[in-house]
Subunit: 153 residues, 2 copies
């Protein structure tokens, strides 16, 4: 993220949740499309609707991607594809339910074997500088899957 080390600025992220019915609500943020939110179905919620647990995992994956994109530009890495499947595990730790871990296996496609080390380094930087992973207690397991695919293949 640019300029973060240059100035100690504060940034504010506003979100508004309105309860609608049963175990559902509508999440809003200025100038963005509204999203329906629900308790997960396994806790008497509603299927097919985003849950707080999903948003937590989405925040982590999203931050790792956006930090990766910034670092890739800074370190001049070219790539043609980036997919990040991930999952968060909710379980009891010290008698309390928490999201204990988040597992991510990003799949990156680059065009030259010469870029493999640079790509690995950028994943490390993304993990180190991601403001969301630095704000949580969950353990992060990031295992990059780097594929080299020459043009024309």
């Amino acid at each position: 993220m640019p300029n973060l080390n240059k100035h100690n600025k504060k940034f504010t992220y506003k979100v508004h949740l309105r309860w609608t019915e049963q175990r559902k609500g509508i999440i809003a943020s200025p100038d963005k499309p509204e999203i329906e939110l629900s308790t997960p179905p396994e806790f008497m919620g509603h299927p097919g609707v985003w849950t707080p647990e999903d948003f937590f995992v989405a925040a982590v994956i999203g931050c790792l991607m956006t930090t990766f994109l910034y670092q890739a530009e800074k370190h001049k890495l070219k790539f043609s594809r980036l997919d990040i499947p991930g999952q968060g595990i909710l379980e009891k730790v010290e008698n309390q339910y928490i999201i204990s871990k988040i597992e991510l296996i990003p799949h990156l496609v680059i065009s030259s074997t010469l870029d493999i080390d640079n790509a690995k380094k950028i994943f490390e930087l993304a993990e180190r500088y991601c403001v969301i992973t630095n704000s949580i207690k969950s353990k992060i397991y990031l295992t990059p899957d780097i594929e080299v695919k020459n043009k024309g293949e």
Copy 2:
């Protein structure tokens, strides 16, 4: 959340992020509507698109609401409206940018002054049992705004 104290079960939340172009991607989760995600505009991202920081705040607010709904049912609290505006603050703490705090001012509408104490207790329980607030380092400032509105007013 029901049954959480009865069984030490594990629950998995799967999310997939696909980079599309520039600093944007598409977030998906099984059977749920896709959501566009971006780096925030202040970090060379795109306006009008959900960001990882927004999702982090949404996860906290969403979890507090869903835990409140569960506790309200358990403690037989009737209410006609629940709105939760909130904001997350990103700033430098010990030389590292993190989401340092999340401020929430839930507005709850109940129909009797006799329910005020019960409502306050339920907000405390929601904060204590919310699995997301228990998974993060950010400090939570929850200040309920409880309004009594008699029917017919």
